[in-house]
Structures are given as structure tokens and as C-alpha cells.
């Protein structure tokens, strides 16, 4: 069932993208193949496969490798995605260290740590990684609101 939903939405997306791609053409063409041929070819193939998936007869489906989702897990997954999005949003604004401490604490809680564990662990992970990357490996990281503390 999920496969058919996926195939259906796949088909829809392919159509939209194909309409978009139809409009691409080069103002000055030196070559016989323009910028739209290859993507259109791919979209056609994907749409074909999606059509087949949508209408193929129900056979005995091969056993799934991935377990299904229950309510509990899907709640945790949406929380996890929300945490990651929030982290990306405050990464530059707050700076690496504060945002990472918050993120690490939240993630640790999500993966089953106790309050104390997540607090101490999160802070250690964030500061440790900052020292490792900024000083040890020369990867510049945003300081954000801590920037004024420097100098």
C-alpha cells in the first residue's frame, strides 16, 4: 500500500518537474542536445517505473527488511527532526557552542539518557568537538554570540 502511495506521489512530482524542464532551453545552442533532454529522459523512466508500481497486480510481496512504524516511534522521529531543524536555524545565530550544547542535550534525552547524563554529556560533547575541530583540525566554526568574548 505504501508503495502505491509513493508511486502515485512520485508520478505527480515527475509531471510537475517535467513541465518545469520543458521550459529549459538554451538561448544560444551550439550543440544538438540542449539542457532539457537528459532530465526529461530520466523523468520519463522514473514515471514509467512509478506507473508500473501503481498498477502492478498484488503478488506476494517479498519480506520487508525495515520494521514498520508505531505511534511512539513516529513521535520520537518527528521530535528528532524538529531538533535538527532548530539546530540548523540557530547554528550561526547563537554560535556553535551554545547551539550544540542545547542540541546535544535534547538528542541525548531523546535517545534515553537521564537528565544529569544528558546535561553533562551534552556539554562535554559540544565543547570537546569545538576544541577538536576549531583548534585541532582548523575547521572554522561560528562563534555567534560568544564572539564578543573573544579578544
Amino acid at each position: 500500500m505504501h508503495d502505491r502511495i509513493f508511486a502515485g506521489s512520485n508520478l505527480l512530482i515527475c509531471t510537475v518537474l517535467a513541465v518545469l524542464a520543458w521550459g529549459y532551453h538554451a538561448p544560444f545552442a551550439y550543440e544538438p542536445v540542449g539542457p532539457r533532454a537528459f532530465p526529461l529522459l530520466l523523468l520519463l523512466l522514473i514515471a514509467g517505473a512509478a506507473l508500473y508500481q501503481l498498477f502492478k497486480p498484488l503478488g506476494h510481496a517479498p519480506a520487508k527488511e525495515e520494521p514498520g512504524l508505531d505511534r511512539h516511534v513516529s513521535r520520537k522521529i518527528s521530535l528528532c527532526i524538529a531538533a535538527m531543524l532548530a539546530y540548523a536555524a540557530v547554528f550561526e545565530v547563537l554560535g556553535f557552542i551554545p547551539s550544540s550544547v542545547l542540541f546535544a542535550v535534547a538528542m541525548a534525552r531523546l535517545y534515553g539518557a537521564s537528565g544529569l547524563q544528558s546535561g553533562v554529556g551534552g556539554a562535554l560533547i559540544a565543547v570537546g568537538l569545538y576544541l577538536l575541530f576549531d583548534y585541532g583540525l582548523d575547521v572554522p566554526l561560528p562563534l555567534g554570540m560568544l564572539a564578543s568574548l573573544e579578544n
Binding site: L20, H25, C80, F103
Partner: protein
């Protein structure tokens, strides 16, 4: 003779103190990454690319680092398989079948050392294979024009789908999605913005580090949420730590056979280490006597997949170096790293930059020796890493991933893009699509379109050039074979007699 001469140059590069140190660090990191469930070679290699870049490593050193990590992962994956019954990465799945029972019988030390030795033999056989066949293939591949390359990449994609055992269509769709994603961004030939939706962040195309880490790291983090395995206690590695001479000789033939199988499957585009270890295990099981103890702790069942996956990891270097067509997800990432250094892999690389190619090949030997030396005595240290709880591991992985993505362009747009790709990757994974196929498609996409357009420019739009030469015809025949393979398999599975054979 030429080969020996170049190999000498290669060892000169690989044995320089700086590169030796790099290989050592890579081997160490690789083993740790490999043994941690949830982190595989693809993530390990992808995470190190921004770091290698930031450190200003020269290309050959960076490549040596990545290759050492790759090999190290194949060594490390076995540790958690044997002690925890949880494969550290996909290609170590078969190792659990006989490795864990052996550990339960108190032979954990023997199993660990014997599997390290098997990995070593596999890696050595395959590296010898690389030395023999890569230059040969490279001289032959010089004759490839754009049309041949295009057809070859079609073959790589169909091979990927044909080899995927039970879901060829889904794998093909995954690869096509990857190919399509490579179209995003400015079209290099005409300057047209494709599928950017007006976003400046996408004008440059999707950065492949963003794609890799989104697909593999973010989706893995989400998968780990549903499988917080607790209550699994590692078997203590006690007793005899080294296998004895008798045990070593009893699996020697297995090692040899599996090494060759692994190398061949590694060279084939899209087959990779996971398939190689499964094939090696199955064929050893079939060849064994009736009174075998496969599945209950047979040493051969342990040696076969470990030999094969290391051999396949090395074998995958052959198509990457000679044709510029990666054979596995991890070599696809390495190829991406090379293009970041403005190096185009392919047959010309052997002539224009022999120190890179041969330095890499020689460092495969070096890394292999280092890994066996490191793995036998240090196994207790590595097992202690397995005790790190998930709640400490996952935030660290998530933050390192974000750093890796941020380091490429220093924009948070890439972070959002990575999360978006990760969510899509997670959904695809839940629907049983292969994420490696998406990645491989993405890496091949740019080259595929480029070669198709170049070929058609040469012929002035005449499609006939795509099947005009003998080489293309041979490759098309192989493509047809690969498309037929799943159909034949499905047909055979429907026949009742096949069920008895399988059972």
C-alpha cells in the same frame, strides 16, 4: 616491468613518514567507525573529506586517508558482529552467522584474530589483483570515447539493479532519482538554471557531501531512534586470543577462494562488499561436507565473508581508478573527493599522475599490514568502545555531521538541505529503496549527461553513435544480460523444483 617500476614509486609515496602517519590514523579511525553500529564506511569517508580539505592535505595523502578508512571499516565491522551479534556495517552481516556462535562458545579471541587474518588475506589478494589488472584496464580504457563512456555508465546502473537480489525495480528507480538530482543547478554547457526554484543555494547544484551525509548520516540517526537496542551485552573476549596453526590452515582454501570471489564482485560496478560476502558465504556452505557446522560456529563460515568483504573493498578501487566509474557507495564518495581536488579519475590518471594512483595502491598494502598488526593486540581496546551508550554517540555523530556539511560552504542553507535530504532518504529506506543506488546515480549523473551530449555533438545529433562501435555493442549486450537477470531469477523462483534446491 613497468608495473614494478611504478609500484616502486607508489611505495615511495606511501612510505613517506607523513603518509604513513595518515594511513595509521585512517586505519584507526576506520576501525572505530566500522565497529560502531550505525556508522559505515560511506559516512566515515564522507565525514573526513571536509576535514582533509581543511587540513590542506595534498590529494594523494587525502586519498590514502580515505582508502585506509575504507579498509579499516571492513576490519572493524566484524568486531561488533562477533561480540554483539549486531553487524557494525552492512557488509559484516554474514559474519554474525558464525562469528557470534563462536564467541558464545568462548572462542571470541580465536574468532576475532582469525577474522582479522582473513581480512588481511582478502585485502592482499585483491590489492595484487588491482596491481595486475588496473594498468591493463587503463591502457584498454584509453580507447573509450564519450559514447563508450555513456554506455558503460548505463551498464553500471543496470548492473546495480540487476545485482540487487529481490528489488531490481526499486533499485533502478533509486539510481534514477540519484541521476536526476545531479541535474540540479546551473547547466555547465548552456548556463541554464535547472530545478533551482530561484534559490541561490542550489545554483551550484547539490554538494555531494551534503547529499551523502543527508542520505546516510541523518537517515541512520533516525533509524537508530527506532532500534535503541538495549539489553544486548557484548560477549567477553577471553581465553586464547590467537588462532593456532591448524585452525589457520583449515580455512586457507576458503580464504583463497573467497578472496578471488570478493575481488571479482568488487570490480563489478554496483555489486560491492555486501553482496560479495553473501556470495562467498553461500558458496562455501554449498561446497562444505554434509556434516558442516555452518551457522553454529564454523570457522570457514567466519573466514569466507570477512575475506570477501575486504577483497571487494580493494577491488572496488579498480573501476574507480581506471574508468572513473565507482563500483560502490564508498568509492563513489572517494571519486567525489577527487573531483573536489580537480582531479578527473579515468585512464589518463595512470599517465598524468602516477604518484597518486600508485601511491594509493601501495598504501592499500601498507594499510592492510597496519590493520592486522593493530587489530590483533588492540582488540580489547576496540571492544571497550562498544560500551559507549547510544545517547552519547548519536548527538556526537549528529554534530560532527553538521560540522562536516557546514565546513564546505559555511552556509546554514546546506544544513537545511541535508536534513531535507535525510528525511527523504529515511522515507526511501523505509520503503526498501537502496540509498547507495541514489548516491551512485548522483555521482554518475553529471558524467553521464556530459558524455551523452559530447557523443551526440560528435555525431551531430545522430543517435547511431551510441551503438556504432564494437565496444559499445559488447557493453549493450552486458546491459541486456543485466536486465534479463532479475527476470530469469523471478522465472526460476516460480518453478517448484527451484524451491527444493533453495530449501
Amino acid at each position: 616491468m613497468d608495473t614494478l617500476h611504478y609500484l616502486g614509486i607508489g611505495f615511495g609515496v606511501a612510505l613517506s613518514p607523513y603518509n604513513l602517519l595518515t594511513a595509521f590514523c585512517g586505519a584507526l579511525i576506520g576501525t572505530v567507525v566500522g565497529l560502531l553500529p550505525g556508522l559505515g564506511p560511506v559516512n566515515g569517508v564522507a565525514l573526513l573529506i571536509p576535514i582533509a580539505f581543511a587540513l590542506g592535505l595534498p590529494p594523494e595523502t587525502a586519498l590514502i586517508l580515505l582508502a585506509a578508512v575504507y579498509l579499516g571499516c571492513e576490519y572493524g565491522g566484524r568486531i561488533s558482529s562477533i561480540l554483539l551479534n549486531i553487524p557494525g556495517e552492512a557488509s559484516a552481516v554474514m559474519t554474525t552467522l558464525d562469528g557470534y556462535p563462536l564467541a558464545r562458545q568462548g572462542k571470541a579471541g580465536v574468532a576475532l584474530s582469525l577474522s582479522a587474518w582473513s581480512s588481511f588475506i582478502g585485502g592482499t589478494i585483491a590489492t595484487l589483483g588491482v596491481v595486475l589488472f588496473a594498468p591493463l584496464l587503463a591502457t584498454w580504457a584509453v580507447a573509450f570515447g564519450p559514447a563508450e563512456y555513456f554506455v558503460l555508465m548505463v551498464f553500471a546502473i543496470t548492473c546495480l539493479a540487476g545485482m540487487a537480489d529481490n528489488k531490481p525495480l526499486k533499485t533502478a528507480v533509486a539510481a534514477l532519482i540519484g541521476l536526476f538530482l545531479s541535474c540540479v543547478g546551473i547547466d555547465a554547457n548552456s548556463g541554464v538554471y535547472r530545478f533551482t526554484f530561484g534559490s541561490l543555494g542550489l545554483a551550484d547544484g547539490i554538494q555531494f557531501v551534503v547529499l551523502v551525509l543527508g542520505l546516510f548520516s541523518v537517515s541512520e540517526i533516525l533509524v537508530l531512534l527506532e532500534r535503541t537496542h538495549h539489553g544486548q551485552k557484548a560477549v567477553k573476549a577471553s581465553g586464547r586470543m590467537l588462532f593456532n596453526f591448524k585452525e589457520g590452515t583449515s580455512v586457507f582454501a576458503t580464504n583463497m577462494r573467497s578472496g578471488v570471489v570478493g575481488f571479482v564482485l568488487g570490480v563489478l560496478p554496483g555489486a560491492g562488499a555486501t553482496l560479495a560476502s553473501a556470495v562467498a558465504y553461500m558458496s562455501e556452505k554449498r561446497m562444505a561436507h554434509k556434516d558442516n557446522r555452518f551457522g553454529k560456529g564454523d570457522l570457514r563460515g567466519l573466514a569466507a565473508p570477512e575475506t570477501a568483504n575486504s577483497a571487494a573493498a580493494c577491488g572496488a578501487m579498480v573501476p574507480m581508478l581506471t574508468l572513473g566509474v565507482p563500483g560502490s557507495g564508498t568509492t563513489a564518495v572517494m571519486l567525489g573527493a577527487l573531483t573536489l581536488y580537480n582531479i578527473t579519475p579515468g585512464p589518463m590518471l595512470f599517465q598524468s599522475q602516477p604518484d597518486i594512483v600508485w601511491g594509493l595502491i601501495a598504501s592499500l598494502f601498507v594499510a592492510n599490514v597496519m590493520l592486522i598488526v593493530m587489530n590483533v593486540p588492540m582488540v580489547r581496546v576496540f571492544t571497550r568502545i562498544l560500551a559507549v551508550p547510544t545517547w552519547a554517540l548519536v548527538p556526537a555523530i549528529a554534530i560532527i555531521t553538521s560540522i562536516g556539511v557546514y565546513a564546505v560552504h559555511s552556509t546554514t542553507f546546506d544544513l537545511f538541505l541535508m536534513i531535507g535530504i535525510g528525511i527523504c532518504g529515511y522515507a526511501l529506506r523505509k520503503l526498501d529503496f537502496s540509498l547507495s543506488a541514489v548516491l551512485l546515480g548522483f555521482i554518475l549523473g553529471g558524467m553521464m549527461e556530459e558524455n551523452l551530449r559530447r557523443a551526440l555533438s560528435l555525431s551531430n545529433g545522430e543517435l547511431g553513435i551510441l551503438w556504432g562501435s564494437p565496444i559499445t555493442l559488447v557493453v549493450w549486450a552486458l546491459v541486456a544480460l543485466m536486465i534479463a537477470l532479475p527476470v530469469i531469477r523471478a522465472w526460476r523462483a516460480r518453478k517448484p523444483s527451484a524451491v527444493q534446491v533453495a530449501g
